[in-house]
């Protein structure tokens, strides 16, 4: 499954700074350095964890990869192709291969679209299939995230479903085009702790069946340990440690990683 010889995604010295506008009351324009010279390689078929706290830059990294933002410096490569500044048709093609699962299932689904409309959106945008085949593909996608039988859900609206179901719809939407690379941005942080492993197992299944590569962004080391092959720890825009998940947690070398491990609630029972 995991092909150590094939790097699917590369970040080379990526830097990104956000500038807030100068205002009358807050003084000068402030610069927030989101990412400082971040470089990493992700292998095809692996689940790579990016662990950090809020403000560390992990979400920005995810957004840069799916091209919701553009880096100020550095290069982004997918399958060896430079995708740093692509536009137009090339960008649209890119979107078929790289998808994202967002953090907040209550906000990532358009409240006015039914589940069917939502999940079939990528199909319609990329003109895949016709109305019959699309319904089939949506059904398949819903079954693969555990919403079975799909007929019960096809024409429901987001507000009629629980957070866990909504997040699964978001996953179904991301997977319907069978992408190569998926960024999962804290997919369980807005859900109850008991739902987390169900969602993780769904992602694992996708990796097993379709060899999809995942970037799993999280603030929980325990979640990263459960799901990921390798982890990188990010602190204030810089990668402080990177390596196989088990190693990082058993033998952390950076003091920040150690602080994260110490602070993690110990369930002693």
């Amino acid at each position: 499954m995991k092909d150590p010889n094939k790097v699917i995604l590369q970040l080379e010295h990526i830097s990104k700074t956000f500038r807030t506008r100068a205002s009358l009351f807050k003084g000068d324009q402030k610069e927030i350095i989101a990412l400082k010279q971040v470089s990493l390689n992700i292998f095809k078929g692996e689940i790579f964890g990016l662990v950090g706290e809020s403000g560390s830059g992990k979400t920005t990294t995810g957004r840069l990869i799916v091209k919701l933002e553009e880096p100020d410096h550095g290069k982004l490569l997918l399958d060896g192709n430079d995708i740093t500044r692509i536009k137009g048709k090339v960008l649209k093609n890119f979107r078929r291969k790289v998808q994202m699962i967002f953090q907040d299932p209550y906000q990532s689904l358009n409240p006015y679209l039914s589940v069917f409309d939502c999940v079939s959106e990528p199909l319609v945008v990329h003109k895949v299939g016709n109305s019959e085949t699309r319904e089939d593909m949506v059904r398949q996608s819903l079954i693969s995230v555990g919403l079975d039988p799909p007929e019960n859900f096809l024409y429901r609206y987001p507000h009629q479903m629980s957070g866990g179901q909504r997040q699964r719809i978001a996953i179904a939407r991301a997977m319907v085009l069978k992408p190569e690379f998926v960024v999962a941005d804290e997919p369980t942080s807005m859900l109850d702790a008991s739902l987390a492993i169900h969602i993780f197992n769904i992602l694992s299944e996708f990796r097993k069946k379709l060899n999809i590569t995942f970037l799993f962004i999280t603030h929980s080391l325990a979640a990263a340990r459960y799901l990921c092959d390798r982890i990188a720890v990010i602190y204030k825009g810089e990668l402080v440690e990177m390596g196989p998940a088990e190693n990082i947690i058993r033998n952390p070398s950076h003091p920040y990683t150690r602080a994260l491990i110490d602070a993690h609630p110990r369930f002693r029972y």
């Binding site: 919701l68 979107r95 990532s108 007929e151 019960n152 024409y155 429901r156 009629q160 629980s162 939407r173």
Partner: protein, 314 residues
């Protein structure tokens, strides 16, 4: 944050969701609306006026003499009070006031709704484009809106009609629409600005949707309720503007609107002598605008779930 916002999910499994859930949505909205007293009053009034407007199509068929413009009763040549023949009396040349009132209802609806619809159309599209594009396009459009908004509608239309002579009713409608869109566009723009940041818009972008698709498939349904709400307010102002224009003598003389009726009362000096002529159109203008306003208020409650008193929080 935990699922603190999840509302109680009902097991709707007894009825599998239909393919046209928009009907479901409408029915749900209707059940909320039903409970609002103001909305019910407004809707009742509106229905009465709609019936009036509809019946104006029938009066010439019942009795050809009852034409609002030309239906001059040969027996009467001056303004008379209510009688068996003419329920509300006649105007200064013997035309039946009731039929004028009914025709006026028709005009009010036509003018009100079309002018409102057009101004909402302009306002919504421009607001969405300005809000979504940001930067230069946004600035240009909003400055344009500012300029248009500042111009006094009535005055401009007066000037135009004095330049070009009597205006056709549809021209008036167009002009009202052209001057009334900025208010809506500001609100829609604000709404779009906040929607733009929401994750589902990001999700649409990541799925590969074009800007056009995002605006019209994702943003529009979310701003449409607000547009519809504003439409009810716009109808109000459109009707009043038309009435004012007609009253001041700049309306379409072939369209018997309530404002026109008021103009005739005033011009022929019958203001105080003929209350049966003066009062009906005036009251109708007030009531119809009130009814639209009430409907608008009730719609607000339907559209903004936070205003409703219901669902459990956890």
């Amino acid at each position: 944050m935990a699922e603190n916002r999840s509302t109680q999910i009902l097991n709707d499994n007894r009825r599998s969701p239909k393919k046209f859930p928009i009907v479901d949505r409408f029915l749900e909205g209707w059940s909320v609306y039903r409970e609002n007293l103001i909305g019910k009053i407004g809707l009742t009034l509106l229905v009465i006026f709609a019936l009036m407007a509809l019946s104006s199509f029938f009066t010439p068929m019942i009795d050809p003499m009852y034409h609002p413009m030309t239906g001059v009763d040969p027996n009467i040549s001056y303004s008379t009070g209510p009688s068996w023949h003419h329920w509300l009396g006649t105007d200064f040349i013997g035309r039946d006031i009731l039929s004028q009132l009914l025709a006026g209802a028709r005009i009010a609806f036509m003018v009100g709704i079309s002018a409102a619809f057009m101004s909402i159309l302009f306002g919504t599209v421009i607001g969405m484009i300005a809000g979504y594009s940001g930067k230069i396009v946004d600035t240009l459009l909003m400055r344009l809106a500012d300029m248009v908004m500042v111009m006094p509608t009535l005055l401009v239309v007066l000037i135009l009609s004095s330049l070009f002579g009597q205006l056709n009713i549809w021209t008036i409608v167009l002009l009202i629409a052209l001057f009334r869109w900025p208010g809506v566009s500001r609100v829609i723009r604000a709404q779009t600005l906040s929607l733009k940041e929401r994750p589902f818009i990001d999700a649409a972008k990541v799925a590969g949707a074009s800007h056009f698709r995002i605006i019209f498939r994702h943003i529009m349904p979310n701003v449409l309720p607000l547009s519809l709400l504003y439409m009810t307010f716009r109808v109000t102002s459109a009707i009043i503007i038309e009435a004012a224009l007609a009253f001041l003598g700049f309306g379409d003389p072939s369209a018997v609107s309530w404002g026109m009726m008021l103009q005739w009362v005033w011009k022929t000096g019958n203001m105080f002598q003929a209350p049966y002529w003066l009062l009906p159109p005036g009251i109708c203008i007030s009531l119809i605008t009130l009814s639209f306003y009430m409907i608008g208020r009730a719609l607000e409650e339907v559209l903004d779930p936070r205003l409703r008193k219901e669902v459990a929080q956890e």
